[in-house]
Amino acid sequence: MIEVRGLRKRYGKTVAVDDLSFDVLPGRVTGFLGPNGSGKSTTMRIIMGLDAPDAGTSTVDGRPYGRLPWPLHEVGALLEAKAIHPGRSAYNHLWMLAQTNGIGRARVDEVLGIVGLTDVAGRRAGKFSLGMGQRLGIAAALLGDPAVLLFDEPGNGLDPEGILWVRNLLGHLAGEGRTVFVSSHLMSEMALIAEHVVVIGRGRLIADEPVSQLVQRGSRGTVRVRTPQSDEVARLLRAHGAVVEPEADGSLTVSNMAADVIGDLAAEERLRLHELTPLTASLEEAFMDLTRDSLEFHSSADPSHRREPAAAALTPSAADHEVTP
């Protein structure tokens, strides 16, 4: 378990982290979301005892990082891609870390196997691709079989297969009861990995809640209705207080009325519905709504606001597919 209390950190005039408090609980994957430059990496470095906060505390299982008797056995971290001496082999990189915490060669071989680098263990890490470097970083995090794991953007540089592998690995680690804290600026990735999210913007806490709740918060409770009798349905729903907007594709977007009520009303009037889909915001959109005011770097283009079917809200790969009821 990671506890962060009142953390504050400034670099020169820039406030990187501002009065940040949250807990990361064991047994689930907790996502750490925020736009670029929002303070995610700073927070992780503070948790790891690498940067000193100006105020506040962070503890791992009740102790500040610096007081852990066997840090690698307690916390594993992937903080930056390819933080490896290019002239050292993958095996020796892990071995020199293992020696500091009394970890044996057998475990080095084991983690190389877990991340799939056994065949290239003797190769100089400078020749590694970004994805292989990332796998080596993950192997280093797993070295001491720690109960707490931090991953800063673990999907960076990985191919789709690698990303799927990381996702499964993180889920597996959380399933074993470990504390898994994963940062990302990619909502789509986080939606698939995390169960709970901590969202920050400009160093401040914006949300600390289950993913499902975050998605609901972003939703405005709209429903997509597709019917061959658009005019009649629109008239009927408006008569009962709904706001109905016809869409270019012939469907209707209904707000201020729940899907079941719409269905019942249509049935009473014997109107035919071909689709009745409650729409929620995607995590991406919920996140955009939350962090709009705290973006460090605004682009001039307005982010598009698309509504996705609820069923697909957590699977962006399906976002462009039509969901038929």
């Binding site: 064991p26 005892g49 852990l68 001496h85 996702r167």
Partner: protein, 286 residues
């Protein structure tokens, strides 16, 4: 399909047994040994040191032996066979400085410092172990090389010129002391790299202090040079390798420290650099 569907906090934390006690210097020393042994820069620096110290000493000795017949009276009187066989020492000082810098700056350059300090959060301990391991390797290598350079050089001189033996007064001190000077200058470089953190910057500072500072000093009035030249690391190194007190080296015109006082001054430089390095290592964000 998604991990989010996996069982949540209901699962008990994995029972992970910790070894007894806590981390300590032994593991960190082993780790530092592995770090040194597993990168090519160590090997290349040591090869370069061999070429510098033994190679240049041998060339200088061979050339002296070949031209002895033609050398003048003053050259013969001030000839210091020990110093001649250790002529490569100043190049060795540069090369060992490169190794000392790289041992620390490579950690920053590659980002492994974060991994190192995550594994051992006690930063003074990390620096102490790194310093100790480097000092051990630098000392063993430097002593082997300076004795090799001396013995090879005397073999080349023997027959043509006067030559030295280790039993002559001051000779053992010069040869053994040369190895000590190399070791301590390497530690000084390691300290500078801990402060500066960048390979190029630390190297520039080291070479600047070693080679450029004495040159700059020569632009100043003689009284200043007389007061300051004895503090230059390069001068201290040359003094250590000389057996003939008013011998042949470039700085013999200036008042100098005795060899061991000079060595004490060098140790003070290295200690100061390492202490400041330790202070900033603890204070700064990694």
């Amino acid at each position: 399909m998604t991990i989010a569907a996996a069982p949540g906090p209901a699962v008990a934390p994995a029972p992970l047994a910790l070894p007894p006690g806590r981390y300590g210097p032994l593991g960190q020393l082993r780790s530092e040994w592995t770090k040194m042994r597993t990168v090519r820069s160590t090997i290349w620096s040591l090869i370069a040191t061999i070429i510098a110290v033994v190679g240049i000493g041998a060339i200088a000795s061979a050339v002296t032996a070949a031209h002895w017949r033609n050398s003048g009276f003053v050259d013969r009187v001030t000839f210091d066979p020990t110093a001649r066989s250790l002529a490569g020492i100043f190049l060795g000082e540069i090369v060992i400085g490169v190794l000392g810098v790289l041992v620390m700056s490579a950690e920053y350059g590659t980002g492994t410092i974060r991994a190192t300090l995550s594994a051992i959060p006690n930063r003074p301990l990390v620096l102490a172990c790194k310093t100790a391991m480097f000092a051990f390797i630098a000392f063993v290598a430097s002593e082997i090389l300076t004795f090799a350079a001396f013995l090879l050089g005397q073999q080349l001189l023997k027959g043509s010129t006067p030559y030295a033996t280790l039993s002559q007064p001051g000779v053992f001190r010069a040869v053994f002391g040369a190895g000590l000077v190399l070791t301590v200058l390497g530690l000084f470089a390691l300290g500078l790299a801990t402060i500066i953190r960048h390979t190029a910057g630390a190297l520039a500072a080291y070479v600047g202090i070693l080679l450029v500072l004495p040159l700059i000093l020569q632009a100043f009035p003689t009284s200043w040079q007389n007061a300051a030249m004895r503090y230059m690391p390069l001068v201290i190194g040359e003094r250590m390798t000389s057996v003939v007190a008013r011998g042949e080296h470039a700085f013999s015109g200036f008042p100098l420290f005795s060899p061991w006082v000079g060595f004490g001054v060098l140790c003070a430089y290295a200690a100061a650099a390492l202490l400041v390095g330790c202070f900033v290592l603890v204070r700064r964000d990694a």
